[in-house]
Symmetry: C2
Amino acid sequence: MATPATPLLKDQLDIVIPTIRNLDFLEMWRTIFQHYHLIIVQDGDPSKTVKVPEGFDYELYNRNDINKILGPKASCISFKDSACRCFGFMVSKKKYIYTIDDDCFVAKDPSGNDINALEQHISNLLTPSTPYFFNTLYDPFRAGADFVRGYPFSLREGVPTAVSHGLWLNIPDYDAPTQLVKPLERNTRYVDAILTIPKGTLFPMCGMNLAFNRDLIGPAMYFGLMGDGQPVGRYDDMWAGWCTKVICDHLGLGVKTGLPYIYHSKASNPFVNLKKEYKGIFWQEEIIPFFQAATLPKGCTTVQQCYIELAKQVKDKLAKVDPYFDKLADAMLMWINAWDELNPSGAAGAAASGTSK
Amino acid sequence: MATPATPLLKDQLDIVIPTIRNLDFLEMWRTIFQHYHLIIVQDGDPSKTVKVPEGFDYELYNRNDINKILGPKASCISFKDSACRCFGFMVSKKKYIYTIDDDCFVAKDPSGNDINALEQHISNLLTPSTPYFFNTLYDPFRAGADFVRGYPFSLREGVPTAVSHGLWLNIPDYDAPTQLVKPLERNTRYVDAILTIPKGTLFPMCGMNLAFNRDLIGPAMYFGLMGDGQPVGRYDDMWAGWCTKVICDHLGLGVKTGLPYIYHSKASNPFVNLKKEYKGIFWQEEIIPFFQAATLPKGCTTVQQCYIELAKQVKDKLAKVDPYFDKLADAMLMWINAWDELNPSGAAGAAASGTSK
């Protein structure tokens, strides 16, 4: 039953935080985050100053920095929206990324102990996923669990885990209509499970508390065009999730969801959210069947190749839903160009050049 | 947050118990089971007497009864193996079935309260399933939960739930090799979740603590040929689960797993189990890809039609693995014949004739 201590991967993981405010929330995370490098991406007016508490190792990018670094390709990075966080994924040189929203605090487990979310994410990423057959006792790689009777032995090795999707206690991640209908609902249920999302199944990926292996899946973690000048918001992480899942399924990589929880402190304004979301609520009815049906050619063997192919399919099949998708498909290609420019050794080799910034 | 009380469905549910011993375990379930009719199927020597504690409403079938009722078709029902439980599914006239092993006791939740497993199963069966898209907060129909942001509204109605697969605290349902390697492992993790197994994903269905809607899926719940005279054991529930899942996916029905837990008291002998299982351990490496690839023609619109088609495919594609599957395919057809003979109004109409026995 003994499990080895989870390595902390101090030199191999960056924490990416999009923000418009002062990062006071970091105080609560100090003992956990202080060992890591932070990449802060300012998602609002670049003339304002984001204050970071003393003692953290960080770099901060505002819109002017992004424009300077990416030049004309900066247009693929959203402005005045937390979707800009993906710029942090691109400039990182580490193997692993953890991204968290600045209204997320340390949660407590049912025994009242602080949850080290980062340690759990690392453990999720370092153990295999099992996308080809469901294990009824959930993650078989956790202490005290295993594969149950009837689980084929040939599938027990699993596949490398690319994504660890963590959850939220207190304010659940609801859409605006659900927020409006259930303003008082709080998530108080601590579900002590991690599980692999099966191959061929899509899920709503939330960017609030998310970790991934940048070497394995980084270039798919593009958060799209949201915010300033765009017709839709709050679909940045969903878009990244759909693309990521289709590519993980194609490349034989795993996506886990469940633990760890963070404590989500503040519900965003449902009226503002409704304005941002309402087109997405229509569009997702066509987007999701598109992604459910999407297949990638065998020849696509890198994340970049898969992503470029997916961008073509978006242009072919979703542009008729709204011209926005035509623009988004172009931005997807621009994103890959920018990624490759900043990561010249290629996705799989990016870690090799991984000197900490 | 208030949820309506779960109806108890007293006249609509039978409890099916396979046994070779005296049913002392029923004492612990008295307050829960006493309102229901029990169908006891004796899986050993019919000359021995099974004693049922006073005060339960039951009918008991031994091998002689099965032979008398089914005549030559009785050969599709396993002898000296708990797989014979499916005879109870066939003779029931109720809409719902709960089946439980006689070494399963009432479990306690983390607060120390007795878990009413049956009530949770009924609640699982009476609320829809969501097989087409994963909800990260698990069952959206539970109190305090809902569909999360990004879940398509068109899919929120869900589909009817056909199966509720419950889990086990204490002795986990491991295969013989895992039992041998981890003799002391106990399942102590109470995972407070119910979830739908996504469409297209197979799972290892355990018959220890299982409920289903007999009208929706009954004829697929055939537990195969095990025990006396057969080359394999402990794959009865697995077989039923694979067939059931493929048919549920085809017919647009849901399968849930998770809560409720029962307390599984006694590990079976791993050496005996290994002898029963070892061919299955080889065979499942071919059986599972077979079921993963199986598709049913659109014309199959009843469970019986689906099952007959599946039997044909078993004969065509698995008989080459071992002659056993040729015999099993024949038994599958015999099972459907017997089912239809005992349930002349057809699967969908069985409830209409549902006078309590």
